[in-house]
């Protein structure tokens, strides 16, 4: 009632208002239901489903992709004004003034994610059929993967913050289960818990944001919140925006909640590709962009988003330069690339579309590279130390070529995918909306320098792995102590084909989506149309400088890691290298600031509870209960005396009643 009355008011909604879903869109619930059903069958079916369970998993994810594709086509054929649809599912929570229906929002933003998640997700399902072939628990693995896909789709399709929160925590759970998939090894179990707890700190932000929004607007569904946000006061929106940012930091491994992502690499590599590179970790960016109408009235919160993005961008890039573990290097890179997306989102309406654009192209090339890393590990006895790789291009040609496609894409060289999206972010960073003050210069420079560092560490990874001299021991010689004899070989077809498809995406997707600014226009019904802002530097200068820095970074890496021999034992390195190897001491900081004091607090409380609280309460109870004599009897354990006390109590009651009433 209230909702419908207010929607018609002129408001500051950024994109189009939603219309009720009709026709083919009413089946959108299948997107969530199909993978969820897959997960349920695989988990409840137990060992009976071991033989075919993995194919069921592929089928569930694949059919979700087909449903998504149908919705995509239907949306593309609808006029722009009708591309935002809300599908009411059922009344979920109705309590007093809190009324919430479970519903889905099908619009260009959610559909972009649906396509990314289901397409890349299905490829990774297929890849995993082979990658996890020798794991006794492969069925359980696929159950968790399906659970993840369902939760991720719920996250992006939800039409309210509360339902989004269900998906938000759901992907956290799936991530926890998958990072700890091999949790018979304690470090993996610890990494899984660390990820969940760090995420929970972020989730707390989302909960508080929901409270603030409900407190202000009496609703948590996007339609109402966004239509009322225009008239709300700035302080409130800033608080909500900052809390949403906290949530985004947890999920997307942004500073200062970034510490879990590197450890999350303990999960099987397909998981790293899907969850910790292409999709889940980008949910924070989704949250910020989705909340554009909230941030529209909170420029300061938006500025903080950009600052966090810029810090993380550099943080990840620096860490990436020092890691020798191929997966951890990729993880640092993911963190840094999401920093780019955050930065773009923090630039506001002029950056939202590019944040999502980069998110999509990154989803392809980073997933491709992770699958490539998995292929390398598959052929190298699960070795992850790049100092023990080298010259692998001769042994795994397809992995090498597909990885090269991803490498060129992340470098941002034209015409590969990353160029189209990342270059736009750098350009926009030089052109913050008001075009004034320190912001364009700082953000622009950070983005520019970041591109150069990215080129260095990604080339370092690429050269150390596929080029240079071989630093592993083949089957012909005796392996060094603690080393396996390596017999690098190309992976089977089920692993190769997903890599090839993602490589094609890494090469061409960015260019295709950039034709006529197609992707930007596609998102306009959600993020609104924005006039072009001129950067503080001419565009050709920015572009030229970017390419120059990228080439320089690549060249440095080539000189150091391809043209000259790489030490098998890492050199001591400079202060900065040593700090970067330890993730700039993030764990030490967390330990010193949170864990140690927390443990101390917990231990003192445990002691205090026994000695002080229990002592006082027991003493008081004794005092109140009765005289020491009765207590002594009670402590002898005679219930009789208790019963008699009760009888005595009743007698007293009766006596008093009689005395006063009769």
């Amino acid at each position: 009632m209230l909702t419908s009355a207010l929607v018609s008011l002129p408001t500051a909604t950024v994109g189009e208002a939603a219309i009720p879903a009709t026709g083919v869109f009413t089946v959108a619930w299948l997107l969530v239901a199909l993978p969820l059903l897959g997960a349920a069958v695989l988990l409840l079916g137990g060992r009976r489903t071991d033989r075919w369970g993995h194919w069921l998993g592929v089928l569930a994810s694949g059919s979700a992709f087909l449903v998504g594709a149908v919705l995509m086509v239907a949306t593309l054929s609808a006029p722009a004004a009708e591309r935002v649809q809300d599908l009411h599912l059922f009344d979920w929570i109705t309590a007093g003034s809190f009324e919430l229906a479970a519903g889905l929002r099908i619009d260009p933003l959610s559909l972009s994610f649906v396509m990314l998640v289901t397409f890349v997700g299905t490829l990774i399902h297929v890849y995993s059929v082979s990658y996890m072939e020798h794991d006794a628990s492969r069925r359980r693995f696929f159950a968790y993967l399906n659970l993840f896909v369902a939760a991720m789709l719920l996250l992006v399709l939800a039409d309210s913050y509360v339902l989004l929160f269900v998906g938000w925590e759901g992907v956290g759970l799936a991530s926890y289960l998958l990072i700890g998939f091999w949790n018979h090894s304690m470090p993996n179990a610890v990494a899984a818990k660390k990820a969940f707890v760090a995420n929970r700190v972020g989730d707390l932000g989302l909960l508080v944001a929901i409270m603030i929004l409900f407190g202000a607007f009496g609703a948590t569904d996007f339609e109402t919140v966004f239509s009322l946000a225009g008239g709300a006061n700035e302080g409130l929106l800033t608080a909500a925006g900052l809390m949403l940012l906290l949530a985004a930091c947890g999920k997307s491994a942004q500073f200062p909640l970034q510490a879990w992502l590197g450890d999350a690499m303990a999960g099987p590599t397909p998981v790293s590709a899907l969850i910790h590179a292409a999709t889940m970790v980008t949910a924070g960016v989704y949250l910020v962009v989705r909340s554009a109408p909230v941030y529209a009235g909170a420029p300061n919160a938006l500025l903080v988003v950009a600052i966090i993005g810029a810090i993380t961008l550099l943080f990840g890039a620096i860490v990436g330069c020092a890691k020798d573990d191929i997966k951890k290097t990729l993880a640092a890179s993911t963190m840094s690339q999401i920093g780019y997306m955050m930065l773009a989102a923090g630039l506001g309406p002029i950056g939202y579309a590019f944040a999502i654009f980069h998110l999509v192209t990154h989803g392809f090339f980073k997933a491709g590279m992770f699958l490539g890393a998995g292929s390398v590990m598959h052929g190298m006895h699960d070795e992850v130390d790049m100092r023990r790789f080298g010259e692998l291009r001769k042994y795994m040609k397809i992995t090498w070529i597909t990885f090269a496609a991803g490498w060129l894409a992340i470098l941002g060289l034209p015409p590969f995918s990353g160029f189209w999206s990342k270059d736009k972010i750098i350009e926009t960073a030089f052109a913050t909306a008001d075009g004034q003050g320190w912001q364009p210069w700082v953000f622009g420079t950070v983005a520019l320098v970041g591109a150069g560092i990215t080129a260095f560490y990604m080339s370092r990874l690429y050269f150390m792995t596929f080029h240079g001299t071989r630093r592993w021991t083949g089957t012909e010689g005796a392996p060094a102590a603690g080393q396996h004899a390596q017999n690098p070989h190309e992976s089977p077809a089920l692993m190769i084909w997903p890599m090839i498809i993602l490589a094609v995406g890494s090469i061409a997707l960015g260019g295709l989506l950039a034709i006529g600014d197609g992707f930007v226009h596609w998102l306009e019904p959600v993020v609104g149309h924005t006039e072009h802002h001129d950067p503080v530097l001419p565009i050709p200068v920015i572009m030229g400088a970017t390419i120059l820095l990228v080439l320089a970074g690549g060249f440095l890496a080539w000189r150091q890691y391809a043209a000259s021999p790489v030490a098998v034992v890492p050199p001591r390195g400079s202060v900065l290298t040593r700090a970067a190897r330890r993730d700039l001491y993030q764990d030490e900081v967390n330990e010193g600031l949170l864990m140690r004091p927390g443990q101390y607090l917990t231990r003192s409380l445990v002691y205090g509870d026994r000695q002080v609280v229990d002592g006082a309460a027991t003493g008081l109870a004794r005092l109140v209960a009765s005289s020491g004599e009765v207590l002594r009897k009670l402590q002898n354990g005679y219930v009789r005396s208790y019963a008699s006390t009760m009888v005595a109590g009743i007698v007293v009651l009766v006596a008093v009643v009689l005395a006063f009433r009769i």
Partner: protein, 535 residues
């Protein structure tokens, strides 16, 4: 209200009592059938409970229904009066659902854990257990009857008698069937409850004296709206509240719970924490608030602080525990903090959340205690450090524990989330700092649940645990309904919410506070219009 034809609630109280009597009267030849008989009676009670629920009109859940009333001691104004509103009905249902599961879970378990090591051969132990388990199950049935009665009592004196009488079966269930320190634990439980009970007794008397008196002077309905001086009302309120706070249990009178849960058999803890302790929060909601509205409003700010302290304190203590059962007990201290917070935040959203929380907490903690009981029975120890790597050995047990644990940390999709969410969102409308600080409990919950899971189920398999059997069919049947209810009520809480909506607004009306969450909409529209007129 009075067109009640069948005495559903009395039947629900009598059936388990008959069951207990039958068990105790069994001739020795028939004693081996004690278990099916006990479970049978509990299932009949469940059936009666469901039928009672079906004849309950949920559209009118704010009114007490299934009402029965008979004069008991008219000279003192005492009546046998029972009836339930939506909240009472939910808690009655929770009791009758949990009891069969507890009995099923205790089926083969040797409840006398202290004696387990000292009994002779396996067969001798079996005989003893067979004899003792009969008593145990009979006590469970007696407790069931008392629990149903206390949630249904509509007479303050009847409520008080039942409130105290409940202690007796629990005392024996802990003191006779518990662990090594069971006597200490049982006495401590009794002492704390007794202390609260005696203070409450004084309150009960004082309340009667203030009330209208007469042959129905103890009826709740006759006492609501009693005129009292401010001081009197506050003192009587405090007497009731102390008893309920001990029962709930709230910080700082919670210390009996960890000791009791540590020593009690798992099934006893399920009923004790899952249902019986709810009498505390139920009493706050259905007695303190309507009977002492002014005093409730007066005390609310302090109680909210205590509730928030309980939430954080319980969670931090849970993180520091080395005993599985103590740990679960402390998580409950934290969860009871949420319930009390919701009640005393006085918003329709938070009160509904708290009402629902009572049921959901019963399901999730019940499941946790049951599953922890299965673990302890297998290992013969409840020290967390004695476990490790069990997920590989007993995947189904690990999975159920994880689901129950996720429910304890209020993962969305499981029922506890809905209630915890409503409590904090509702509280935010009345008391922002309390709501935000309480949210920290969300992070702490993740730590205590997942850390426990890590220590018990992950890492390398301990050699002595390598042959641990996974859940049997009987054990699966005992936990599956709880996990199923958690999921169903997580995604579709409407049936439960429909039952607590009216009672919540009724309660707020009794307390006489403006619902802070109801005014959101008005404020928003006002401010929007203001903005419009400024332009």
């Amino acid at each position: 209200m009075q067109d009640q034809t069948f005495p559903w609630l009395t039947t629900l109280i009598v059936v388990p009592l008959i069951g207990a009597a039958v068990l105790w009267a069994l001739p020795s030849a028939a004693r081996r059938h004690a278990r099916p008989i006990a479970v049978g009676f509990s299932l009949v009670a469940l059936l009666v409970g469901v039928l009672a629920a079906l004849s309950f009109d949920s559209a009118d859940a704010g009114t007490h229904q299934l009402v029965e009333q008979a004069s008991w001691i008219p000279a003192f104004g005492v009546s046998y009066a029972v009836g339930v509103d939506g909240v009472g009905l939910l808690l009655v249902l929770l009791s009758v659902v949990l009891v069969p599961l507890v009995l099923l879970a205790a089926w083969r378990e040797h409840p006398d854990r202290a004696a387990a090591g000292t009994e002779g051969t396996a067969s001798a132990r079996e005989v003893v257990a067979g004899g003792r388990i009969r008593h145990y199950m009979a006590l469970v049935l007696v407790l069931e009857a008392l629990m149903v009665a206390v949630f249904a009592a509509r007479d303050v004196f009847l409520f008080y008698v039942l409130f105290e009488a409940m202690l007796i079966p629990v005392y024996f269930m802990v003191g006779a069937f518990g662990g090594l320190q069971r006597r200490y634990a049982a006495v401590k439980f009794l002492l704390f409850s007794l202390a609260g009970g005696l203070v409450m007794l004084a309150g009960v008397i004082a309340l009667y004296l203030q009330g209208p008196g007469g042959p129905e002077g103890f009826l709740v309905d006759n006492l609501v709206g009693t005129e009292m001086s401010v001081t009197t009302e506050r003192l009587i309120f405090l007497a009731f509240f102390l008893a309920f706070a001990i029962k709930a249990p709230m910080w700082p009178v919670h210390t009996w719970l960890p000791d009791t849960a540590e020593q009690a058999p798992a099934g006893t803890s399920v009923l004790l924490v899952g249902v019986l302790d709810k009498v505390g929060t139920f009493g706050m909601l259905t007695l303190c608030l309507p009977l002492f509205p002014e005093a409730s409003r007066w005390a609310a700010p302090v109680i909210i602080v205590l509730a928030v302290v309980s939430i954080l304190y319980g969670a931090l203590l849970a993180i520091g525990q080395s005993d599985l059962m103590r740990l679960i007990a402390y998580t409950s201290v934290s969860h009871f903090g949420f319930i009390v917070l919701g009640i005393f935040a006085f918003t329709s959203v938070s009160v509904q959340g708290a009402s629902l929380y009572m049921v959901n907490h019963g399901l999730s903690t019940g499941a946790l205690f049951l599953i922890a009981g299965f673990l302890v029975a297998r290992r013969g120890s409840q020290r967390i450090e004695d476990f490790g790597g069990l997920q590989k050995v007993v995947p189904v047990l690990a999975g159920t524990f994880l689901v129950a644990g996720l429910s304890a940390l209020s993962l969305p999709g499981l029922s506890t989330f809905v209630s915890e969410f409503l409590v904090i969102v509702g509280t935010y409308g009345a008391n922002r700092p309390a709501a935000i600080v309480a949210t920290l409990g969300v992070v702490l919950a993740a730590i205590y649940v997942l850390w426990t899971y890590q220590k018990v189920f992950t890492g390398p398999v301990r050699p002595e645990l390598a042959a641990t059997p996974d859940l049997s069919v009987r054990e699966k049947v005992a936990v599956a309904p709880l996990l199923g209810l958690m999921l169903v009520l997580g995604f579709y809480p409407a049936p439960a919410l429909d039952l607590v909506r009216e009672p919540a607004s009724q309660t707020l009306e009794d307390v006489g506070v403006q619902d802070a969450t109801a005014s959101y909409a008005d404020e928003t529209s006002t401010s929007t219009t203001d903005d419009g007129s400024d332009q």
